[in-house]
């Protein structure tokens, strides 16, 4: 219905702006209906401005800026409709180390109420995980799983099985 969609839209927009500002430490972001007259069919425009920048459209943002903006929108939607679990496959690929840190601090907040299963090659991301699974292919073409426990005191992953 129009009321539910409009109310959800406004909440997501508010969340998106707050989360974007946290992840970018400044700047501004919004979502807008392309056709205010036709709410049930209108498209949705995304406006994202990292600190100091005035991008005319979202395509001229950098790879890392686009990833961080998409993450902000994802989390903004999550706050409205959390899923009990969420799978993220190498979403840190385009992020530099500083942005990975900001993303992870936010992920830890959301992880208090949602299980996150995150595939990554990044050491920083691995270091904040409570449990780690390693996949190997000792036999070519056949996947095998081993699990590690993070020895947080030593910052090292210890094979448990």
């Amino acid at each position: 219905s129009i009321e539910i969609f409009t109310e959800t839209f406004h909440i997501i927009r508010k969340n998106f702006s707050e989360i974007f500002k946290k992840l970018f430490q400044g700047g501004d972001a919004s979502i807008e209906l392309t056709d205010e007259e036709n709410i049930l069919e209108s498209g949705i425009e995304i406006i994202a401005m990292p600190p100091g920048k005035k991008p005319k459209n979202i395509n001229i943002l950098s790879g890392g800026e686009r990833t961080l903006t998409a993450i902000a929108l994802l989390f903004a939607t999550y706050m409205v409709r959390p899923s009990p679990f969420c799978f993220l496959d190498e979403i840190d690929a385009a992020l530099d180390e500083e942005n990975i840190g900001r993303f992870l601090r936010m992920l830890e907040q959301f992880a208090k109420s949602t299980q996150f299963i995150i595939i990554t090659h990044n050491k920083k991301t691995i270091s904040i995980a409570e449990s780690i699974y390693g996949i190997t292919m000792e036999e070519p073409g056949v996947s095998k799983i081993v699990s590690y426990r993070m020895e947080k005191s030593e910052g090292k992953a210890v094979l448990t099985s």
């Binding site: 498209g43 998409a70 299980q115 299963i117 995150i118 595939i119 190997t136 070519p140």
Partner: protein
């Protein structure tokens, strides 16, 4: 309601039965290129009801059955199960945990089970309705697709908001 574990058997590169227990908080899955990490993500989309093979990188649904290596013969069936804690009875099933399974055979035949009882795919969809599970557009973020929401045309982006509303 949270995920307790899932099992893969014969699904893509998981020729041997594999169980993955999921704790609260953050679980990292690591390993070299091509070892099977994204295949795990595909298996979750699939057991939750994915209908199109191309959305899990296949051409026909049967492509997800382990198709053999130089050393091993192909298998004839793939099965994925997901076990969800139900102690707060959010799912309309009277057990402490609910196990949902999906199987596919070489001839394309599919089977679905809830706690080992055969059901239809729409019973699984009905089970998960309004729980946030199964609506994978924002609970499964695939490799290389994180900024897809930005490249999609404005008109096509509605689905994400409609699912949340």
């Amino acid at each position: 309601m949270h995920l307790k574990s899932f099992e893969l058997f014969g699904f893509k590169s998981f020729a041997d039965k594999t169980q993955i227990m999921i704790e609260p908080g953050i679980t990292a899955i690591i390993g070299p290129n091509g070892c099977g990490k994204s295949n795990i993500v595909d298996s979750v989309k699939w057991v939750l009801g994915e209908k199109q093979a191309k959305n899990i990188r296949g051409e026909k649904m049967e492509d997800i059955i382990f198709n053999g290596t130089d050393q091993r013969k192909p298998l004839s069936v793939a099965e994925v199960s997901i076990t969800i804690d139900n102690s707060n009875k959010i799912l309309d099933i009277d057990t402490e945990a609910v196990k949902v399974s999906r199987r596919i055979f070489r001839d394309g035949e599919s089977e679905y089970l809830i706690n080992k009882s055969p059901v239809r795919l729409k019973d699984i969809e009905k089970l998960f309705m309004d729980t946030g599970i199964g609506k994978t557009s924002y609970s499964v973020m695939e490799q290389g697709k994180i900024d897809m929401i930005l490249s999609t045309r404005a008109e096509d982006r509605r689905y994400l908001f409609e699912e949340a509303a």
